[in-house]
C-alpha cells in the first residue's frame, strides 16, 4: 500500500474528528459514538490498484437471532432501503454488520463523515429490530 494512500486515508480519518489508530497494513480502527464506545473498522481493499482502491467501513452490530427466519431477514433488507448510506450485511455464520464501501478515488470528507454517522445510527436501528417487544416479525405488507 502506497504511502500516499495511507496519508490520504489518515487525513480523511483525522478530518472526521474521531479517535483512530492503525490496526494493520491496510486497516484502521475508529472509535465512534458516545464515549467512543463503538469500534468501527476501516479497511482499504485493492490498495495496490492505486486510485481504484476501496474503503470498506464496517461495524458488527449484533448477532442473528437463532430463530431468525424469513421475516426477520426481509426486515433487515428492507431497512437497507431506508438507510442514508451503506447497509446491513451478514459476515461469517451469524454476525450482522453495518457496512459501507467507498471508492478511495472519489471519497471526500463529506462522504466519509456521512458513512461514519450512519455507522453510529445503525446500532440503534438494529437494536430496535431486535427488541423482543416488537417480535414476532409480522409481515406488515
Amino acid at each position: 500500500m502506497s504511502a500516499d494512500a495511507v496519508e490520504r486515508i489518515e487525513t480523511l480519518l483525522a478530518g472526521c474528528g474521531a479517535p483512530f489508530e492503525r490496526a494493520g497494513d491496510q486497516a484502521w480502527t475508529v472509535r465512534l459514538g458516545a464515549d467512543a464506545a463503538l469500534q468501527a473498522t476501516v479497511v482499504c481493499l485493492n490498495a495496490d490498484a492505486g486510485s481504484a482502491g476501496l474503503l470498506k467501513v464496517y461495524l458488527p452490530v449484533g448477532k442473528l437471532p437463532e430463530n431468525a427466519g424469513v421475516d426477520f431477514l426481509k426486515e433487515l433488507l428492507r431497512k437497507n432501503r431506508t438507510l442514508g448510506h451503506g447497509g446491513f450485511a451478514v459476515a461469517g455464520r451469524d454476525t450482522v454488520a453495518f457496512v459501507d464501501t467507498l471508492q478511495l478515488k472519489h471519497c471526500d470528507q463529506g462522504e466519509l463523515d456521512a458513512t461514519l454517522a450512519w455507522v453510529v445510527k445503525s446500532v440503534n436501528v438494529f437494536k430496535e429490530k431486535l427488541d423482543e417487544s416488537k417480535l414476532p416479525y409480522l409481515d406488515p405488507y
Binding site: 427466519g69 424469513v70 442514508g84 472519489h106
Partner: protein, 139 residues
C-alpha cells in the same frame, strides 16, 4: 451538483434518461442488455445535505424463498464493491447506492451509475450467483 447538472451529465453520457418527477429520473434499458436505473435526489439527515440515490431492480423474490435466499443477499452485502442489496416491498429485491450530493463530481456520478448498470451481470460473474434462478430477472 444540482438537478439540472445531473440531467446535463446524463445527456452528455448519452444515456436514455427521462424525468419521472422533479428530482427523479429513470435510465431505461434500450435493448443494450443493461438494467434500468432510477436516480433520485432525496433529503439527507442534515439540512442541506441531500443524497443522490441509485436504485436498480434485481429480481422478484420467489414465493417459496427460504432463509438461505435472503442470507445470500445479506452475505453479498459484505462483499460488494458498491452499495447494498435491499428490499422495498414484499417481494422485490433491489440494489442501491447512495452518494452525498454536496461535492458530487461527474466522475463519481458516472462511476456509481456504471456500477449500478453492470451490477446484475457483475454479481452473476464475480460472485457466482444465478439471478435467473432466484426470481424473475429484469432483462
Amino acid at each position: 451538483m444540482n438537478a439540472e447538472q445531473i440531467e446535463a451529465l446524463m445527456t452528455r453520457m448519452n444515456l436514455p434518461w427521462s424525468r419521472v418527477v422533479k428530482n427523479m429520473w429513470n435510465i431505461d434499458d434500450r435493448g443494450d442488455n443493461l438494467p434500468g436505473v432510477t436516480v433520485s435526489i432525496e433529503p439527507g439527515e442534515k439540512h442541506g445535505r441531500d443524497l443522490v440515490k441509485f436504485v436498480t431492480f434485481i429480481c422478484d423474490v420467489p414465493r417459496d424463498a427460504g432463509p438461505e435466499f435472503f442470507l445470500d443477499f445479506l452475505r453479498l452485502n459484505f462483499r460488494v464493491d458498491h452499495g447494498a442489496f435491499a428490499m422495498e416491498s414484499k417481494s422485490e429485491m433491489f440494489y442501491l447506492d447512495t452518494l452525498e450530493l454536496a461535492g458530487l463530481d461527474p466522475n463519481e456520478f458516472e462511476a456509481a451509475l456504471t456500477a449500478m448498470r453492470n451490477a446484475p451481470r457483475m454479481f452473476q460473474e464475480k460472485y457466482d450467483i444465478d439471478i435467473y434462478t432466484m426470481g424473475r430477472p429484469q432483462f
